[in-house]
Amino acid sequence: MLFPTVTFAVFFLVVYVANWLTMPRPRLWRWTILAASLLFYGWWDWRFVLLLVAAALGNQFFAARLAAVRGDSGARRRPAAARAWLAVAVVANLAVLGLFKYYDFFAASLDDLLSAFGLSPSFPLLDLALPVGISFLTFRMLTYVIDVARGGLDPVPLLDFAVYVAFFPYLLAGPIARAAEFLPQLRGPRDPRRVDAARAFRLILGGLAKKVLIADYLATHLVNGLFTTPEQYSSWETLIGIYAYAVQIYCDFSGYTDIALGVALLLGFELPENFAGPYTARSVREFWRRWHITLSTWLRDYLYIPLGGNRGGRRKTTRNLMVTMLLGGLWHGAAWTYVLWGGLHGAALVVEHGAKDYRRRMGLPDPGATAWARTRQRLVTFNFVALAWVVFRADSVGDAVAVLTRLVTGLGSLGDTVTPLLLALVAFGIGVQFVSRRLWERFDARLSRAGWVAQGLCLAAALFLIDYLGPQGVAEFIYFGF
């Protein structure tokens, strides 16, 4: 079930009413949310529901075992049994992910490698249907078992855990809410007189507009064509197309997140923010504080720091950064392009770390001391990120090179592909990230005081315009594929 559809609107109205009616009876309320979430997921393919159920049961078992053997949370070293159970839990979760998402990729890659040496292996390829959102699901479950193992969380009842696993607003593409921040929200009923409706409406409508009016338009009018037949585009069109993809993926993914946050708010849940104006960043480090925040903090807390983090000198920091970013890239999909994309970001982080250390040693001043210097930093960062997106978007490394080559070989004019409307949407998609959060909050506050009739009229006008101006049909969100 896609968010921007009539089917979802009807589904949500029913769930909304059931949610608030059953909330005073906590057990029934949890069952209601769980049933709605399973229906939402089963809408894609009912077999996926079995995967959710199995994952919830398996991880609940691991959590119970870990709680029984983890010992004192203040101890420096976890007992051997706890380490063993944690390893089993992590391996089991990654094995399921690997089976569905990566097995064919690695088997085919190994086949190619061995074929190059004259061997002719024959690995069976499984061609399994990829459950939507499986990478997000795996990371959510890992937070639960790891936090239980670390002593920061006690196992919760199975029903609570199942709701955490399957909660439909974030089920398909995040944000990656951690067990420790979501589960407490299941404890007590919310006050039905205190629904944060105005903010929710603004988030949902803004998300829909980003997805339908900007992301889908840019995809169909320039980006898809550029990445399929780059030979047909001039250097200028290629450059605009690369920027357009940067805006498309931002509007697509942050649009989904906004809708997820808004939908959850209407049900009385607060989900973590995932975006904070990523293209305003002045460095790649800052970009990762603003882009897909729940993934980057997950990678930091559950991979980078356990690897050793910054402790252990420059060489180990470099290794840890590269491992984290390469695996972070691979998390997005089973293709070398994602690994390369992660590697590019890892290398940029290493360079920035090195430059910072060098400046500190030499006593050099902050390079962002003036407004112009900060603008320059933003431009450099944005262009690096946008060029790296080319590798992320392309079907193969060769295709990425073909697009990037057009930047210098496709001499010519803009042509009629790049229209003023398209340029305006690209500029808007970047410019909107510079709008102060305070301004949005003022808007929310004003809308919240307008009353339900005015809010309903705003909803009607916005929904009508989004549907009228948007293309027929809705493309899937990019991050559903991950």
Partner: protein, 344 residues
């Protein structure tokens, strides 16, 4: 600041990144007023209802375009009264005004008669050169989009073919009320002065159709008769004026039942292609099958490497799959226009 915070940077400025807890104005200005669950529901119901009335025509069009069945009937049952109410109270006017302002109400259709003009003659056979390239129009549904791009790319590389790709997701020939391909071809072929067409549809066509007030089941004799008529009409439109049409058949599918329906459509295409002058049927069934003749998601590419040809749904093509079909189609076109013998 934690030393391990690998992107921690204290120099974040006043722009959007500043995280403010709680989502309130935290002392600056008036905080948001929370609504009751009932008021929020009332706002949503009012919003959805009014948006439905404002956009009733589009909703009805969307509902009518659904496959014939219970879901379509139920949605139409809901939407028809809304369309009537919208017209009665004048809430369809904003959409009409917007149509007028944006020029969406203009009927710029061409007719078959336009295609018969002979200013392009002789279309085929003729020598294709870099100075006088072949104008190729590639059209169809989402599958056409997946191999159309690679075909356009490789064709353009010859320096003797100019392409235009025009695909429409969910389209086909079963439901002209949703998308009218013959009319689309008339308009686009005339405007683009195409000399040859590559066409692929069918993936969305195995659905019930309405004909003379009756609903025809897929695969019944009456259904096949109607489908033959629609394929024939499309071929006649595409080849008007002596143009060449390369009709690309459906590849083998993972789901056996769905694959059998596609094989049935392929038979229709092949039979009609044999009856129409200027139409070449390009078979892709075996091209996309494994060595054993069965469905295979992975096949070896021209470089000998294993490459994934089909998407996870077992239907759509990956880039490598698109490349594979594109290479076959281009080979047929080059042969048909005798492009392998002469120099560009």
């Amino acid at each position: 600041m934690r030393r391990d915070d690998w992107w921690a940077d204290t120099s974040v400025d006043a722009h959007a990144g500043k995280q403010e807890a709680g989502g309130t104005l935290a002392g600056r200005g008036r905080p948001r007023r929370r609504a009751t669950a009932g008021a929020a529901l009332a706002a949503m119901l009012l919003g959805f209802f009014l948006a439905g009335l404002l956009d009733a025509t589009a909703l009805r069009r969307d509902a009518e375009s659904l496959p014939i069945g219970a879901r379509r009937t139920a949605l139409l049952w809901l939407v028809r009264p809304m369309t009537a109410l919208s017209g009665a109270v004048g809430l369809d006017e904003p959409a009409v005004a917007l149509d007028r302002a944006l020029g969406r109400d203009e009927d710029g259709h061409h007719t078959r008669r336009d295609l018969a003009v002979d200013d392009l003659r002789p279309i085929w056979p003729r020598e294709v050169t870099a100075r006088k390239p072949l104008r190729l129009y590639i059209a169809g549904d989402s599958m056409a989009g997946q191999f159309g791009g690679p075909l356009a790319a490789t064709a353009e590389k010859t320096g003797r073919i100019r392409t235009r790709v025009d695909y429409h997701v969910n389209s086909g020939l079963s439901r002209p009320d949703y998308f009218d391909w013959p009319q689309r071809l008339i308009d686009e072929v005339f405007d683009s002065r195409a000399e040859a067409l590559v066409f692929l549809v069918g993936g969305n066509d195995a659905q019930r159709v309405e004909w003379d007030g009756r609903v025809l089941e897929v695969g019944s004799k009456a259904w096949l008769d109607v489908y033959h008529l629609r394929v024939a009409e499309t071929m006649e439109v595409a080849t008007a004026g002596g143009r060449r049409l390369y009709w690309v058949g459906q590849p083998i599918m993972r789901d056996r039942a769905y694959g059998e329906r596609m094989a049935m459509l392929n038979e229709v295409y092949e039979q009609e292609a044999a009856r129409h002058e200027g139409v070449t049927y390009v078979d892709t069934w075996d091209l996309m099958a494994g060595k054993d003749g069965e469905y295979a998601a992975y096949l070896r590419g021209p470089d000998g490497d294993l490459a994934r040809m089909r998407q996870a749904d077992g239907v759509h093509l990956t880039r490598a799959g698109g490349d594979r079909i594109a290479a076959r189609v281009l080979e047929v076109i080059r042969h048909d226009w005798d492009m392998d013998g002469g120099s560009p």
